[in-house]
C-alpha cells in the first residue's frame, strides 16, 4: 500500500520537547509580567538603578554556549567524537561560568547591598525571576554533564544523537529566555 509506505509524521521527541518549551515559556512569561507590573512599585530601597550591574561577560558566555552546542552536534553528526567532546565541554564550561557569575552577583547583592528576597518588592521579583532562570540553567548543566560522563565512559553516544538534539533545543530555549530576562531586568528595569 502506498499510503503506508509514504506515511511520515514528525518525531515524537521533537513534538514533546517543543510542548515542554511552550509550557515553560508561559511559566517564564508570568514571572516576567509580575516583574514588569511591580517595576517601580517598591516602597523601600535598595532600588535596581543603584545596585544592579549589567552582567555583560556572563551573558556573552551563555549566548556563546548556544553556538558551541551546535558545533558539538555537528561534530557528532560527522562522527567526529573528539571534536564533539571538545565542544560539549566548552558548552558546559560556558554554562558554568554563567552560573558562577550569577552566584557572585547574588553574593554581592546579599552581603554588600543587603538585598534579600524579603527586603522589598524589587528583591522579591528579582530573585524569583533570575532564580527561576538560573534553576533552568542548572538543570540543563546537569543533563549536559550526564552526556559528558556518558561519552567519557565510552557509551555509544552516536546512537543518542536524537536525544542530544532535544537537549540542545532545551539549552537554546534557556538561552533565549535569558535574552528576555536580561532585557527586562538589566535594561528596562534599571
Amino acid at each position: 500500500m502506498t499510503i503506508a509506505r509514504d506515511w511520515q509524521l514528525p518525531d515524537r521527541g521533537n513534538v514533546g520537547i517543543l510542548m515542554l518549551i511552550l509550557t515553560e515559556a508561559v511559566l517564564f512569561a508570568m514571572f516576567v509580567v509580575a516583574y514588569i507590573v511591580y517595576l517601580g512599585q517598591s516602597t523601600a530601597g535598595p532600588y535596581p538603578k543603584d545596585i544592579l550591574n549589567i552582567p555583560i561577560l556572563s551573558t556573552i558566555c551563555l549566548l556563546t554556549s548556544s553556538l558551541t552546542i551546535v558545533l558539538a552536534e555537528d561534530a557528532l553528526k560527522h562522527g567526529n567524537l573528539g571534536n564533539f567532546r571538545l565542544w560539549w565541554l566548552a558548552t558546559i564550561a560556558l554554562g558554568a561560568e554563567f552560573i558562577t557569575a550569577t552566584f557572585a552577583e547574588w553574593r554581592h547583592l546579599i552581603v554588600d547591598e543587603h538585598l534579600t528576597i524579603t527586603t522589598n518588592l524589587f528583591g522579591t521579583t528579582y530573585y524569583s525571576l533570575v532564580g527561576l532562570h538560573a534553576t533552568h540553567v542548572i538543570v540543563g548543566l546537569i543533563f549536559l554533564m550526564l552526556v559528558m560522563i556518558a561519552t567519557l565512559l565510552h557509551f555509544d553516544i552516536e546512537k543518542q544523537a536524537r536525544r542530544i538534539k532535544l537537549l540542545s533545543w532545551y539549552w537554546h530555549f534557556v538561552d533565549a529566555v535569558w535574552v528576555v530576562v536580561f532585557t527586562v531586568v538589566y535594561i528596562i528595569g534599571r
Binding site: 509550557t23 508570568m30 509580575a34 517598591s42 523601600a44 524579603t118 524569583s128
Partner: protein, 552 residues
C-alpha cells in the same frame, strides 16, 4: 550459554502470573496507556465519591437556617476540599484518563508517544492527591477556597500548614497534568496510523489535542502563582504583601488566567464525547466537522482572554469590564455552533435512545441552560448584583454536573463495553439517567432563586425569614435523589462487570478505530497497524460498496 537465561526468566515470570503480588506489580509498573487510563478513571471515581460526600455534608448543613451540623471551620474546609478535589482530582484525571485510554486507539497507535512520561504523569497526579488529603491526618485541612485568594492565604491570615498542603498537593498533581498533556499532543501529532490525516482524525481526538494545548498554556500560570505564594509563605517574599507595595490582585489575575480556561479544559473532553456519541446514535456522520474543529480552536483563543469576568466586583476600570464582558459573551458564538451542530447531527437521523444517548441529550439541554446563565453573569452590572451568591453556584454546577457529569456518564456507558468486554444494563442505565436528571434539577434550579434572594456563597449558615428556607430545603432533598441515581450507576457498573452480556468488538455499530479491535483491547491494541482512507474507517470496512473515502 548466556542466551538461555532470557527464556528461563520469562518462564519463571509466567508461572507466578496469577499471584496477587504479580498482578499488582504489573499494574504499578505499567506504561500501557489503557491500564494507566483505567487507573486514572478509577482514581477519579474514588475522589468523586469522597468529594460528593463532602457536598452532601454541605447540603445537610444548609438544609435549614441556623443549623449546627458542622462548625463554621469545618464548613470552610468542606467547600475548599470539595472544590479543589472536583477540579484537580476528578476533572483533571478525567481529561487524562479519557485521552490516555481512547486517543491511541482512535488513531490506530499501539501506545502513547511517551509511555514512561505517561506513567510518571499518573503517579504525580496520585501523589499530589494523597499529599492534599494527608492534610487530614495532621489536622491542617485547607480552608481558603479552591481559588486560594491572597491575602487570605498569606501566613498572616492562614498560619499553620493547611495552605501549604493545598499549594503543594495541587502543584504536584499539576506536574502530572502537564506531563499527560505533552504526551497527548506528541501522540496525536506523531503516532497517527497511515492515512490518518488531520482532516480524517476523529473529532474526539481533535478536541483532546486542543484541550492538551490549552492545558500547556494555562497550567504554568497556576504553577507560577502557587510558586509565588510558596515563596511568600516559606521564605518571606512580598508578592502579595501590600505593606511594601505588593498587590493582592496579582493573585486574582494570574489565578483566573488559569482558572477560567480551566473550565474549558474540563468541558472539552465532554464536547469530545458528545461528538462521538451523538453521530453514532443518530446514525449520521457529524454535521459540519470543520466548523466543529474551528469552533473548538476559537474557544481556545477567546477562552484565554476572558479571565477578569471573575473579577468584576474588585473594581477594575470601566474599559476592562467592558472588554472582558464582551469577550465573555463572544464565547457564546463558538459554543452555540457546537450545540447547533450536535442538534443538526440528530436532525433527520435514526436516533437510538440507548443510555449513552440519553445522557448526551441531558447534557445538551442542561449545558444550554448553563450557557445562558453564563451570558447573564457576563453582564458586569448583573454580576455585581449576584457575585458571591448561590446564583453563581447554580450556574457553574449546571456546567459541571448538568454538563460535565452527564457527558461523562454518556462516555462511560459508551466505552464501558470496549474497556471491559461487557455490557451494562439498559434498564438500570435508563433508571440512573432519569433519577439523576430529576435529582440534579431539584438540587440546582432552586439555587438560582436562592441566589436572587441574596443567599451568599461560602457562608456556613443563614438567617430565617428572608425567603431562603424553602429553596435551600428543596436543594438539599434533591441531593438525596441524586444519591439514589449515583447508587444505581454503581450497581450498574458492578452488575455489568459481574453478569453483563458479552459486548463483542463493536456493540454500537460505530465508525472509529477503537471498535475495530477486541473488547478489551490487547496490550498491543491492533495486530496489524490499520491503514485508513477516510474519517470513518469502520464504515469503509462495513460498506465496501459505498465507502466514505469516495466522497472526501
Amino acid at each position: 550459554m548466556a542466551t538461555v537465561n532470557y527464556p528461563l526468566e520469562s518462564a519463571g515470570l509466567r508461572n507466578s502470573e496469577h499471584s496477587v503480588l504479580n498482578i499488582l506489580y504489573r499494574w504499578i509498573a505499567t506504561t500501557d496507556h489503557k491500564k494507566l487510563g483505567l487507573m486514572y478513571i478509577i482514581c477519579m471515581l474514588l475522589f468523586f465519591v469522597i468529594s460528593g460526600l463532602m457536598a452532601v455534608a454541605i447540603r445537610i448543613q444548609l438544609a435549614v437556617p441556623n443549623n449546627h451540623f458542622v462548625s463554621p471551620e469545618t464548613f470552610n474546609q468542606l467547600f475548599t476540599m470539595h472544590g479543589t478535589t472536583m477540579v484537580f482530582l476528578v476533572g483533571m484525571p478525567m481529561v487524562a484518563g479519557l485521552g490516555n485510554y481512547l486517543a491511541p486507539l482512535m488513531i490506530g497507535a499501539r501506545d502513547m508517544a511517551l509511555p514512561r512520561l505517561n506513567a510518571f504523569g499518573f503517579w504525580a497526579f496520585l501523589f499530589g492527591g494523597i499529599l492534599l488529603y494527608s492534610s487530614y491526618f495532621v489536622g491542617a485541612v485547607p480552608d481558603v477556597g479552591w481559588f486560594g485568594y491572597a491575602p487570605l492565604t498569606t501566613t498572616r491570615f492562614s498560619p499553620g500548614a493547611s495552605t501549604d498542603f493545598w499549594v503543594l498537593g495541587v502543584l504536584v498533581a499539576g506536574f502530572g497534568t502537564i506531563s499527560s498533556a505533552i504526551n497527548i499532543v506528541a501522540t496525536t501529532v506523531s503516532m497517527r496510523c497511515p492515512g490518518m490525516t488531520l482532516r480524517r482524525m476523529p473529532m474526539f481526538v481533535w478536541v483532546m489535542l486542543v484541550d492538551a494545548l490549552l492545558i500547556l498554556v494555562i497550567f504554568p500560570p497556576l504553577a507560577a502563582c502557587q510558586i509565588m505564594l510558596m515563596l511568600d509563605r516559606l521564605i518571606g517574599a512580598n508578592f502579595f504583601n501590600p505593606t511594601v507595595g505588593g498587590n493582592v490582585l496579582l493573585w486574582q489575575h494570574i489565578f483566573w488566567i488559569f482558572g477560567h480556561p480551566e473550565v474549558y479544559v474540563l468541558i472539552f473532553p465532554i464536547f469530545a464525547i458528545m461528538s462521538e456519541v451523538v453521530p453514532v446514535f443518530s446514525r449520521k456522520p457529524i454535521f459540519g466537522k470543520p466548523a466543529m474543529v474551528g469552533a473548538i480552536v476559537v474557544i481556545f483563543f477567546i477562552g484565554v482572554g476572558v479571565w477578569a469576568h471573575h473579577m468584576f466586583t474588585v473594581g477594575l476600570s470601566a474599559l476592562s469590564n467592558t472588554f472582558f464582558a464582551t469577550a465573555t459573551m463572544l464565547v457564546g458564538i463558538p459554543t452555540g455552533i457546537k450545540i447547533f451542530n450536535w442538534a443538526a447531527t440528530m436532525y433527520g437521523g435514526k436516533i437510538r435512545f440507548a443510555t449513552p444517548m440519553l445522557f448526551a441529550c441531558g447534557f445538551l439541554f442542561q449545558f444550554l441552560v448553563a450557557g445562558l446563565t453564563g451570558i447573564m453573569l457576563a453582564t458586569a452590572p448583573f454580576d455585581w448584583q449576584l457575585h458571591h451568591t448561590y446564583f453563581v453556584v447554580g450556574h457553574f454546577h449546571f456546567t459541571l454536573i448538568g454538563g460535565l457529569v452527564f457527558g461523562l456518564f454518556a462516555g462511560i456507558y459508551y466505552w464501558f463495553p470496549k474497556a471491559t468486554g461487557k455490557m451494562c444494563s439498559e434498564t438500570l442505565g435508563r433508571l440512573h439517567f432519569w433519577i439523576f436528571l430529576i435529582g440534579f434539577n431539584i438540587t440546582f434550579i432552586p439555587m438560582h432563586f436562592a441566589g436572587f434572594l441574596g443567599m451568599p456563597r461560602r457562608v456556613y449558615t443563614y438567617l430565617p425569614g428572608h425567603g431562603l428556607e424553602t429553596w435551600n430545603l428543596i436543594s438539599s432533598w434533591g441531593v438525596a435523589v441524586q444519591i439514589v441515581g449515583i447508587l444505581l450507576f454503581v450497581v450498574n457498573i458492578i452488575w455489568g462487570l459481574w453478569k453483563g452480556e458479552k459486548a463483542g468488538d463493536d456493540p454500537w455499530d460505530a465508525w472509529t478505530l477503537e471498535w475495530a479491535t477486541t473488547s478489551p483491547p490487547p496490550e498491543y491494541n491492533f495486530e496489524k497497524i490499520p491503514v485508513v482512507r477516510s474519517g470513518r474507517p469502520l464504515w469503509d470496512l462495513k460498506h465496501p460498496d459505498d465507502p466514505d473515502w469516495r466522497f472526501e
